[in-house]
Amino acid sequence: MKLSWPARIALAGSTVLTLVFLYIPLAVVLRLSFNPAKSVAWPGFNGYTLDWWRKAWESDGPKDALINSVKVAFVAMLIALILGTLAAMAMARFQFFGKNAVSFLMVLPIALPGIVTGIALQNTFSRTFDLGLFSFRVGFGFHSLVIAHATFCVVVAYNNVIARLRRSSPNLLEASADLGAHGSQTFRYVTFPLMRSALLAGGILAFALSFDEIVVTTFTAGSGFLTLPQWILANFSRPQNVPLVNVMATFVMVVSIPLAYLAQRLSDSGSDN
């Protein structure tokens, strides 16, 4: 389609504006993490310093929170990948009564407001279940966070894997067997390579989802366990810690961008045939 010059300029202009609108705030945080003044008044930039980065590195609070977040996100991601992949393989392979309902129930947790999930999980974890012979209570801490995060991370892993399986010809596994491959060879040369990039993309997304989760986390972390988003939220209101918050935010941003890029590339690839 041929566009007139004014139309082209208008489209280009609005695209640039959107990008500016999206990325200016990120640029500001990045710049502030190197800014000597603690003031957040605009423009307020007065030189460059690595003091805040050194301080963040030396203090335990943000570092511990970061490590906690990585640990929770990693374990939740692993659980999500295993359960999500198995569910996707079952759903892609078998026909059964109520399949649509099960498929909907699988993806519902991601659409549910975090506050609802949070309250529901908080209620469940704090309750003591009496099973007659023994009773137990889930309680709060690292494990409750992992369970809580896994509930919505499973959805991402499931969605990625099932999309890949649906796009692949169901005959591929038969073709492999037909050409003489045993079950283990088929898994090694066909099934796993086909799912590999979907698993990686789903894993990265699940990790990212868990890493910055705050709503469900607030309800299910308990008092002794602090993730990075919780630390940032708690310290944002303390003026002396705002520069450290900027440093942590910048750090997370710099780490996430290549991962986000990779996840997007992987989701797009492997869709041929």
Binding site: S168, A175, D178
Partner: protein, 355 residues
């Protein structure tokens, strides 16, 4: 071709039922079949007639509810697909999307432990045989439909199987490519000399390519024979109607016209238009008066639809230059040789228990 008389494929009382209880579907029912070594054999039938299920039973993707599959005399009924000396060309080709063309072709050799250099060399030879040597490093997604088809063929043939199974391999191609591939497939089969079992719903394809054809309907074989036998001597009303066009005469009409009260089939091109006034009956000729209800001009031939006095319809295919003076609504006289009418079994009676 081997000198032994052992058939490449034997199917004995093969039966396959899907589902259970009220949802039970009999896909294949008491199929007995023998396919000789080096034959180009077609399984022909409408969709849902069981031909693809038979192919999958031979490949080992399904296991039969009853009966046996023998390859070169060996019972392989309980063997998995990777333990059968057959290879399949799938309808959607089923090329591995994450492998290059040459990796696809050498896959069968790789899983069987053939050394890297030998399998690469054999794969390249196989690709050159289907004129795709220059495309070896591409991904399947970078090929056209016809090229993917040839890769699938090379991937199967490189393993030198005793039998090649082809599941409607030309179904996804456009008409021109389809016709080219029909010639090419036939040539490849002559060159390699292995047994081809070809599943198709296209009767023209089956007739033009095969040594023999089995016509399937409702999970059963209605007739097995050479293309000429199938076309000239259909044994059932279904075969007569499915392979080519046919005039099916009911038992009553046959009794009236032919003097034999069993159903018959007559090909439209065997009916001739004769002078309606003249004395028709030469020796062995049968004729009947009719009214023309429709005319279709198709170039060299024309189709003439007529109504007989008792209201039954017939279709005649006649050379267009014989149509002088014939018009819709006009009276004509149709004649045919006694041999042109072939007695057929009413397929509905044959299949009565399935209905």
């Amino acid at each position: 071709m081997s000198s032994t008389n052992t058939p490449a494929i034997q199917l004995v009382g093969l039966r396959k039922v899907f589902g259970s209880g009220d949802h039970e579907v009999v896909a294949v029912d008491s199929v007995d079949l023998s396919i000789a070594e080096g034959e180009f054999f077609s399984l022909l039938g409408p969709s849902g007639s069981g031909k693809t299920t038979v192919l999958r039973l031979v490949a080992g993707f399904e296991s039969p509810t009853a009966g046996a599959v023998l390859l070169s005399g060996r019972d392989v009924t309980q063997r998995p697909p990777y333990d059968r000396d057959v290879n399949t060309v799938f309808q959607d080709y089923a090329l591995f999307p994450h492998m290059s063309v040459v990796q696809n072709v050498e896959y069968g050799l790789k899983v069987k432990g053939v050394s890297r250099s030998e399998r690469r060399q054999r794969a390249m030879t196989a690709l050159e045989n289907v004129r795709l040597g220059a495309f070896s490093r591409r991904k399947p997604s970078q090929l056209s439909g016809g090229q993917r088809q040839r890769v699938a063929l090379a991937r199967a043939l490189v393993n030198r199987p005793k039998v090649l199974l082809l599941d409607e391999p030309l179904g996804a191609l456009d008409l021109k490519l389809r016709e080219e591939m029909q010639v090419e497939l036939k040539a490849i089969q002559r060159d390699v000399g292995i047994t081809f079992v070809f599943v198709t719903h296209d009767q023209g394809e089956a007739l033009s390519m095969s040594n023999r054809v089995a016509v399937f309907n409702h999970g059963r074989i209605e007739q097995v024979g050479t293309p000429r036998e199938i076309y000239d001597h259909p044994q059932t009303a279904f075969v007569a109607g499915f392979v080519g066009t046919s005039n099916l005469l009911s038992a009553a009409l046959s009794g009236q016209l032919l003097g034999i009260a069993t159903p018959h089939s007559i090909r439209p091109e065997r009916l001739r238009l004769v002078e309606s006034t003249g004395d028709a009956s030469a020796a062995g000729e049968i004729s009947v008066a009719a009214t023309v209800s429709d005319l279709q001009y198709l170039g060299a031939d024309s189709r003439v639809r007529v109504v007989l006095e008792d209201g039954s319809h017939l279709l005649a295919s006649v050379p267009s230059d014989r149509l002088v003076g014939v018009a819709i609504g006009g009276s004509v006289r149709l004649a045919w040789s006694q041999h042109a009418a072939v007695a057929v079994v009413d397929s509905d009676q044959l299949q009565g228990e399935n209905k």
